[in-house]
């Protein structure tokens, strides 16, 4: 698609430089190793391929989370969201989860979405924790604004972290209630909620970096709804 770069320059918001998220490896309950790493903007087309099947899955609000995540990733790819980032979880190269957010300014982070493809292993929880780690420890921010669109999200974020409700504060995702994680709260909850080891051995990192592999649509639906549909 031809792009008029003069006009495009006006449409693209200036970005703040963001430190890179250092990859880490998490051992899951089934013993498998999940690599959590930062996705590159060039990875977006393959990520969209993984998100697309969720648009048809109403279970646990995957459809709305998927639809919004799809738009956010596309917005990042087409340079219409400022300072967006995306972290991915991979097991043996396969994509098992995605989280994203953006840096509002040097002090405030905006958490967007968490989408777990492999379920029952706390993949979503581990990735959300990685997202908080990124904002607080790597980007050095003071607080992260968070909302939830599913009861599972509410249980995992608002309750497990004891997030602070922000009356009258508008989260970028719309009218849902807004909560925040402060630096103090993060470090208080870190020992029980943030997992992972660094550095990641070359073998595991090479496997993850080589290619983001995506299961086929049926397999993604099955993973989300359960092998036996439950």
């Amino acid at each position: 698609m031809a792009v008029d770069m003069d006009l495009e320059a006006l449409l693209r918001a200036p970005a703040i430089e963001m430190a890179e998220y250092p990859p880490k490896m998490i051992t899951l309950a089934n013993g498998k190793k999940m690599i959590v790493r930062q996705a590159d903007i060039k990875d977006v087309p393959v990520l969209l391929q993984a998100v697309r099947p969720t648009l048809e899955i109403p279970r646990d609000y995957y459809d709305i989370v998927g639809a919004r995540l799809y738009a956010e990733l596309l917005g990042w790819y087409r340079h219409r969201v400022r300072n967006e980032y995306c972290l991915v979880g991979q097991i043996e190269g396969y994509l098992v989860g995605i989280v994203n957010g953006r840096m509002v300014d040097k002090d405030i982070g905006m958490s967007y979405h968490t989408l777990a493809i492999d379920r029952g292993l706390r993949v979503g929880s581990h990735l959300f924790a990685a997202k908080m780690e990124y904002h607080i420890e790597i980007l050095g921010q003071q607080e992260v604004w968070i909302t939830a669109e599913s009861p599972i999200g509410f249980r995992r974020w608002m309750i497990e972290y004891g997030l602070i409700k922000q009356e009258g504060v508008q989260h970028e995702l719309g009218g849902a209630s807004s909560y925040k994680l402060t630096r103090d709260l993060y470090f208080e909850t870190k020992p029980r909620l943030v997992a992972g080891k660094r550095p990641v051995s070359k073998r595991f990192l090479d496997e993850a970096m080589d290619k983001i592999m995506v299961a086929d649509e049926d397999a993604i639906s099955e993973k989300i709804c359960g092998v036996k549909g439950r």
Partner: protein, 396 residues
């Protein structure tokens, strides 16, 4: 009294069944059991339905009346049985008595519960309604909390170790992953839930010393059996009938604190002994068991109190693999409550269904206890204050 046999057994996959109502689930399981019995158009005389919480969870009562109508079994007699998590086995016991007495010839017993339409903490609160309303519930005690305290005492008295509890969890999740009816589809490893530092997050403390993977999941599900006299079963059944060789039921104090020794599960011992006595068998005659492992500790404690192992030896047996498939005494080859799931009203019936499948030698090699002839079930209500046990035998 007539000897009673199970001629039909059926269940539906446990788990999260958003699309089904409680009645749907009970009906599906019942139809599976009736089909399995091969009764054709022959109706049943009576239906017993085990359910603990439809009145609270679904705002629905009289589920037995609703089920006979749904199944077009009118005018069969219909009774609902509520006995906490032991409702399933209690309902079967009542069905067995009805057939044994000669009053009814064919009885359907179904058990079901729909627990996943409420969030986890509400499910825990619902189950806690079985605790003492004056001296336990108001102080916030829950069943996981009781199990944690019980485990701590058991560890002190019998040198039970966390490794032994972990061995139960790993074994049962492995078996559940092989069971098409099980809720939990996932194996777990010792590395992932204990040894690796990340296990702190994967397997958090739930009720000290019990962790997340020491607990059964909250499940939807239903199971059913069809009973008749052994004599009739031999005439009409195309599959090997399973004889209800013995059963027992015993109670204990409502609160744990009133027991002389809270680690002594007297009702488990009494109910098991009654069942063995009626069957004219001993624990040594039993090939395998389905025990009520709502918490990993319970599988070990019940295996000892029912007489399969000496006190303090049950945990060691799990660690040594003696309770695994191929071991001396396999326990919970269904995955148990830990992995098959625990829809409370369904559990006691599901345990019997699993034993029937085993005794008819219908399972794959990866779950079938070789040459199984005699099985045992134990359904544990409250915190051991109402326990029902069955000894079941393959009728040749």
């Amino acid at each position: 009294m007539r000897q009673v046999a199970i001629i039909g057994a059926g269940m539906i996959p446990f788990g999260r069944r958003d699309e089904d109502s409680l009645l749907d689930m009970l009906a599906y399981a019942s139809l599976n059991a009736l089909d399995d019995a091969g009764m054709g158009k022959k109706g049943v005389d009576a239906v017993y339905v085990a359910n603990m919480g439809a009145g609270i969870l679904q705002h629905q009562t009289s589920v037995a009346s609703a089920l006979v109508d749904r199944l077009s079994l009118i005018p069969a007699a219909a009774d609902a049985v509520e006995n906490g998590p032991a409702s399933g086995a209690s309902a079967i016991k009542n069905g067995v008595l009805a057939v044994a007495s000669g009053y009814y010839d064919y009885v359907l017993v179904a058990g079901g519960e729909k627990m996943r339409e409420i969030v986890g903490w509400k499910a825990t609160d619902f189950v806690a309604t079985m605790t003492h309303p004056e001296v336990e519930y108001p102080y916030g005690v829950t069943l996981p909390g009781m199990a944690g305290m019980f485990t701590r005492l058991y560890m002190e008295k019998y040198n039970l170790t966390r490794d032994q509890l972990i061995a139960v969890a790993i074994k049962n999740q492995k078996m559940g992953a092989l069971n098409p009816y099980a809720h939990v589809e996932m194996i777990i490893t010792r590395e992932g839930i204990v040894d690796d530092p990340d296990s702190v997050v994967n397997n958090p403390m739930a009720a000290d010393p019990l962790h997340l993977y020491d607990m059964c999941p909250v499940s939807d599900g239903a199971a059913a059996v069809v009973l008749c006299s052994l004599e009739m079963a031999k005439k009409i059944s195309k599959k090997p009938p399973v004889l209800v060789a013995g059963f027992g039921q015993a109670t204990d104090t409502h609160t744990l604190q009133e027991r002389d020794d809270p680690t002594d599960l007297k009702a488990v011992t009494l109910a098991s002994n009654q069942a063995f006595e009626m069957a004219k068998l001993t624990p040594k005659d039993v090939d395998f068991a389905e025990l009520h492992d709502a918490f990993t500790i319970l599988e070990i404690a019940e295996s000892e109190h029912a007489g399969f192992f000496k006190k303090g030896e049950g945990g060691k047996a799990v660690e040594k693999g003696e309770t695994s498939l191929g071991g001396k005494f396999p326990i919970n080859m269904s995955g148990g409550l830990k992995a098959r799931g625990h829809p409370v009203g369904a559990t006691g019936v599901a345990q019997v269904v699993d034993v029937v499948f085993q005794l008819r030698h219908e399972l794959g090699k990866d779950r079938q206890v070789k040459g199984a002839k005699t099985g045992f079930t134990l359904n544990f209500g409250g915190f051991g204050n109402n326990v029902v046990a069955f000894v079941l035998r393959r009728a040749e």
